[in-house]
Subunit: 348 residues, 2 copies
């Protein structure tokens, strides 16, 4: 009797491989998305598309949209950002050319691609898609809480923006290097571009947050690992709802807690202290037990880019001694990272 269509929800699934659009950007800091894709998804990157000679470069082949299409590319990805998060007028002719060449356009920018009339019209004319990776898929179901097969790791954090995505990507790579069947599961814009699919968890309606996380890491083979990119922090006064829905719906067997030694207050909130690793582990396990009673913390991922070698060694020691868990910086392969991966892979 319901009048709703019975749409089946799926992840965002992007057309690929990509041509990386760099516009006329001269500042490498504004091209982080392109560099991230080159580093983490080289198999998805056919080449780069720059508008001027002095545009930044990823080092990939410079190709026209038509040449990229001929070499297999199926989408152009906006690989640069600017302050307003908007498509610049100076980019329009080239993006229309990409659509005419058979490429879809993918963007993680703030303003939707379809808000630009010239792109909307060209996409209609050429039968191409404008894909905003900030927009979640339609028809996400309410979570069921039913246990799923396969194994899951979720990266969680004492705060936002301190390495949860990077840690998940690194662990996926390390698992794979040991012959473990592992897949990175993306929950944010950059992660979705790298994985070629995923769900932007912060843009999901709250009632469906845990349901989206269930959709993201479905039933799998018993020895398969989904390595899920965490979001926010259970202790963040603005974003904890995202973190809890993701934790409940992911039903992780293990969590790796990400932390930046020396950060004392939450990003953007100088009145809120960063919680301790102990409190973060305790709260995560208590809440996570609701949907996976055997959840455990496998170790700590420390973002130590700002520390020298002695300080780094000390940060690892403090974490390991006080928590009895391995600590490593995934940016620095070596014995510490091996020990963290060992801990992840031992049976629960």
């Amino acid at each position: 009797m319901s009048a709703r269509p019975a749409a089946i929800a799926t992840l965002l699934d992007l057309p690929k491989p990509y041509l990386l659009f760099l516009g006329d950007t001269r500042e490498p800091g504004y091209a982080k998305t392109a560099f991230g894709l080159r580093d983490w998804a080289p198999e998805l990157c056919i080449g780069e598309f720059a508008l001027t000679e002095d545009t930044v470069s990823t080092g990939l082949k410079r190709l026209s949209p038509a040449a990229a299409y001929a070499q297999g590319a199926r989408a152009v990805v906006i690989g640069v950002a600017n302050y307003g998060g908007v498509i610049l007028p100076s980019w329009l002719d080239s993006l229309v050319e990409a659509l005419a060449s058979g490429l879809d356009i993918i963007s993680g920018m703030h303003s939707p691609l379809s808000s630009v009339p010239a792109l909307r019209e060209a996409a209609d004319r050429h039968g191409r898609r404008l894909i905003d990776v900030r927009k979640p898929p339609a028809s996400i179901p309410v979570a069921t809480g039913a246990r799923r097969t396969g194994r899951r790791l979720l990266t969680v954090g004492t705060d936002c923006a301190l390495g949860k995505k990077y840690t998940a990507l690194s662990l996926t790579r390390e698992f794979a290097a040991r012959g473990v069947d592992a897949e990175f599961r993306a929950t944010g814009q950059t992660g979705i571009l790298i994985a070629g699919r995923g769900i932007p968890m912060d843009a999901v309606v709250a009632d469906f947050e845990a349901g989206a996380a269930e959709l993201l890491s479905p039933d799998a083979a018993a020895d398969h690992w989904d390595i899920i990119e965490g979001q926010g922090s259970l202790f963040h006064p603005a974003f904890a709802a995202v973190s809890l829905g993701l934790l409940h719906g992911s039903q992780p067997d293990i969590v790796v807690v990400c932390h930046q030694p020396g950060r004392t207050t939450m990003s953007g909130l100088p009145d809120y202290p960063v919680p301790s690793l102990e409190d973060t582990i305790d709260m995560t396990l208590r809440l996570g037990r609701r949907t996976n009673p055997s959840i455990r913390c496998a170790g700590i991922s420390l973002n130590t880019a700002h520390l020298d070698e002695a300080e780094r060694r000390q940060a690892f020691d403090i974490a390991e001694r006080s928590l009895g868990l391995p600590a490593a910086d995934p940016m620095r392969p070596g014995a510490a990272l091996d020990a963290l991966v060992d801990s992840c892979l031992r049976a629960n």
Copy 2:
């Protein structure tokens, strides 16, 4: 440099008073919204609008839309539900008549009013609004975590659908009866109709969930109480994200925990046991302390409609003895409810 309009977010604020639309509904169980409005917001209800003689009645005056408008009504509220949550074809002429008479239409049904072409066209023609209370206001900001003035009470629950709205409404009434400046803050469809405004918290995008809760109970006079309708449960595998965002953003000074004695599993999830009152209080206070360090639990609201007097007395005793907190059923005024209100109103 941002291209976004600087819209100012506000609560949904409904046109009022109301004419209650009953359609041709003969089954009182389908007219719960109308009965709830009659009971909890009599000052907002000008009369009822029924299509046939044998339609259910709220006991209010039967009025035509034109007569209701002449007596001050500014909106017709769909006060009945049906299985599909849709506007029935047999209602259309009457709803168009209401628009022509100067009334807006308000609905909490599942399918949006604007999805009915006849209503959309008539609303355009007469310059009237179609308002869906399931749709949150635009431009909700990210939460700041900044402490606000005034006092706040949030009802929380061991599960969904066991009396959080009813408890908040009852406590608002009891506070007011003692001369305390108190306002009910609505977070769900029925509550929003009763209050005439609010935010449907389950329909807010997760990143803005706590921000919506901050918007809902703004700075107020030091002795003013906002009594906030809770949603979901921190222990519900599907809806905990809503509950945590609402808890963080509400910054409650006190919580009242709502529970139904004898309910053993979560609504719709037979594999998930209902958490204990102890665990619910402990988790709520631990998480709530993040944005209000002086949060405390003032007492327990028990839904005892299904118990006889001896069982009810026993349920109160067990809760009070094990927790050291007053317990009452807000459906039953008396000494127990007075003790719960006393506990709410003592200084933190």
